[in-house]
Amino acid sequence: MQGEKSEKAVAVESGGSRRFRISGWDGTLDFLALATECVIATLLPRSWRKPVRTRLAKQILFAGVEAVPFTVFAGILMGIVLTLNSYRWLEFTGRIDFLGPALSILVIREAAPAFACVILIAASASAMTTELATMRVSGEIDLLESQGINLVQFLAMPRALGLAIAGTGLALIFVACAFVTAVVTILLIGRTSPGPFFDSIFSSIVAADFVSLIGRSTVPAFLIGLICCHVGVNTSGSLTAIPQAVTRAMLLSVAATLLISVLFALVAYL
């Protein structure tokens, strides 16, 4: 039998799902449990109910397809910037033959995954956190729980996986746009023939570059999705708590992206 509780205590307690509660070390453990459950659920065919598949498709559409124009724009601009800067400094040092390898490292290993994650955080993380925090505050999460709907399968898994797929796709689009722009820029500068330049790019790309590109875009994007779900679902109180939750989710997402980036850099370069 439950002990006697005050109305206020119950109101506070009811502000967050028992399965998603985050605070301090317990919160970190909760997050790890959520991540583990999410990965396991992803691998189980029975998790892929119709609403989950629909949500995944919508998430890829919102986070990935709708962000393609901006990613193309960013890829083109960064292609120009990176090419001009690299060209200038490699010409200064007399190692212009390293232009292709330098660009491949800059674009594939660094710029593409970082920009893909930044685009996801700016465009999707805030929207996702707002949506889930609003669902929590308005009682919709309680409604889902009361119907026996698994919150990890219905809310977290399709969103996190959708962001991971979208992030990888955006990173690949960014790479393609940056390289095409780099070739066009080289042609316009006119001091290096594009054929050998392209050859030097492709000859310098190794399997580790692809692993790094996929890993540094997929893993942070997946974590961004989980962070937004975790923070959003744990929002408690009134509507004024929602902007605070969004800010928190975005900062945590940036931190997670940087941490994963450092980890992959350590593995790749050491």
Binding site: D142, E145, G148
Partner: protein
């Protein structure tokens, strides 16, 4: 209804339950056996009965077990076998997921039932919708732009959709409902009671079950066999 030691446990049991946020400040003791219909004089305690929100005090047992003693899978499986009509303006505040259409809302829990396919859920939902008076089926519009009448009827569909149905919680189910649809609701209530599902009618004022055409007692031998 008095239970003998050989009888199955009540499907729902409230022991000195005190609900947060309801106008009635008292505690509730109640035993609801298979096929029974009982009235609970509270405002909107369904989320607390379902273990989603905590009680102020007391305990609740569903099929002999409290929510706290169940693991997540067992808890979700039990909740999927309970149909609920939420008070349209109750403490739970939301009766729909706002970014899903009404038809998607009504079928949502059914899609998570591992024993049923999506097509069977959709077919059953449409059949119930027509029975309750939604001639064009469940509304395919967002809750915010759906008429209250259609929302009430869609809530009825959602409540009767689980199969098998272990328990039916009806919070002020007639509030805002079209009069011509009430006989269909009563018929469906009587039907599920006949299969052994008990019904808890939750409203501040006790309804006149006889006037509605709801029998106070069913043939006990038909509904009190072990679950």
């Amino acid at each position: 209804m008095d239970a003998s030691p050989a009888d199955p446990p009540p499907v729902l049991r409230l022991d000195a339950a005190r609900f947060a946020g309801v106008r009635n400040e008292g505690t509730f003791d109640l035993e609801l056996f298979r096929g029974e219909i009982r009235h609970l004089g509270a405002n909107s305690p369904s989320l607390q009965i379902l273990g989603v929100l905590p009680l102020l005090s007391g305990s609740i047992l569903v099929n002999g077990r409290s929510w706290e003693t169940r693991d997540v899978a067992d808890r979700e499986a039990q909740l999927r076998r309970i149909g609920t009509v939420h008070h349209p303006r109750g403490a739970s505040s939301s009766i729909w997921i706002s970014n899903l259409d009404i038809d998607e809302n009504a079928r949502l829990a059914g899609h998570f039932d591992p024993e049923r396919g999506s097509a069977a859920v959709a077919e059953r939902a449409e059949a119930l919708a027509h029975r309750f008076g939604l001639a064009e089926g469940l509304p395919t519009t967002r809750p915010a732009v759906t008429a209250l009448r259609e929302q009430i009827l869609a809530q009825w569909v959602r409540a009767f959709l689980p199969e098998p149905l272990d328990l039916l919680l009806l919070e002020s189910p007639l509030l805002g409902a079209p009069v011509e649809s009430i006989p269909a609701l009563v018929a469906e209530i009587e039907h599920v009671r006949g299969t052994g599902c008990p019904v808890l009618w939750i409203s501040e004022d006790e309804p006149d079950f006889a006037k509605l055409g709801i029998r106070a007692h069913l043939d006990e031998t038909a509904v009190r066999e072990p679950a």
